[in-house]
Symmetry: C2
């Protein structure tokens, strides 16, 4: 638990799946923090000070020490705020697998769904859809318990949160259907469990606003490519 | 130290900077292992069995448990084979910074140098050169001691090994000069220290073979793009 003299700040946007990872992890650990909403078209001086290299959200600032990259931050949170609610497995091999799958989500799934939904080029979007389905198949195959982390939420669940909440909103906004319940029954069930977990549920953005945001993004790309 | 009943295998290629990371880390820990040289144009059944998702080197197999992704493997090695020669810092904030910089090398420097040297398109190569220099500037700025890890080699040094050995070979092969000693005096000095460290030196590939390999790669790209 956070000690009373600790000052914890999160810089993010309300819709950012990466910032949500950090917020959900802090929630699981019972750490109080102040949230700073960033306007990504007009970034704050503080964001640029704390993340001069990537200039991106999320940033975690813990007693004036700044940390960036959501997966790096999740490991830090797990190390600093105790192991009553561990986010990473304790056993080195299981820990390595959790790191592998979290990295897989960022390296394979994330670029694939962005390509599938928001590429200007139709062939690129179709290729992105194929790559998204392939990434989802690997994750469906890997999911053995209630959560990727077993009976409780772990780092892979938090990393995969996009699939549970953002992906369905993107599908609605751009008219895709990739995460079908017949093809991905385990991911479907998991998504329901995950988004209804108290630490997750209270940290999700409004679905209607997210769908509207993705609709506008899609429309601007389609218009620009005509 | 490796216990006598432990079986450690590394699947790699002699020229792979990612496989070398694993070999150098095992060397630092004094772990005995068997090296399996892969032909990437004709991958072995074992490689495909151990890394069915990415089908890439390196793979570390420890008592029949397979691990992939070099940075994930480095953390595993550090956790399993004791802390006499720690690769990661112990303090969570310093550990997070080390993870950040290792990830920075893989996410920013590595794609940039590949683009700079081996893109078919001249403008792309020039853009890659700019991005490489920008990444090197961040690393030059970050280097405060003998090594990124302080007085001894740490995870960031091992991750950055490409800059010390592979980059000069690429520069020679394709006629680039990015890592100049006037612009990057600290990285130059570090590169010399790093490549002369006993655990590193004995694990480096032959420079002439590497240069020849990169020359052939460059020539095939230039020929194909004409």
């Amino acid at each position: 638990m956070a000690k009373v003299y600790e000052v914890v700040k999160v810089f993010g946007t309300v819709g950012s799946p990466f910032a949500k990872r950090v917020q959900i992890a802090l929630e699981l650990k019972g750490v109080q923090y102040t949230f700073f909403e960033e306007d990504l078209r007009n970034k704050s001086e503080l964001l640029l000070k704390y993340n001069p290299i990537h200039k991106k959200v999320p940033v975690l600032v813990h007693n004036e020490k700044a940390l960036v990259e959501s997966l790096v931050i999740l490991e830090y949170i797990d190390e600093v705020w105790g192991s009553d609610q561990p986010i990473l497995p304790q056993q080195p091999y299981h820990k390595a697998l959790a790191r592998f799958w979290s990295k897989f989500i960022d390296d394979k799934y994330m670029p694939a769904i962005t390509k599938a939904a928001f590429s200007a080029n139709k062939e690129e979007r179709e290729k992105g859809s194929e790559e998204t389905v392939e990434a989802l198949e690997h994750l469906e195959n890997e999911l053995k318990d209630k959560f990727f982390g077993g009976e409780s939420i772990g780092v892979v669940d938090i990393a995969a949160g996009h699939i549970a909440f953002w992906l369905p909103a993107i599908e609605e906004a751009v008219g895709l259907k990739l995460l079908t319940s017949d093809k991905f029954p385990k991911l479907h069930k998991w998504g329901h469990e995950y988004t209804n977990h108290p630490a997750v549920k209270k940290n999700l953005p409004q679905r209607e606003r997210l769908v509207a945001f993705f609709k506008a993004r899609y429309a601007s790309i389609i218009t620009a490519s005509k």
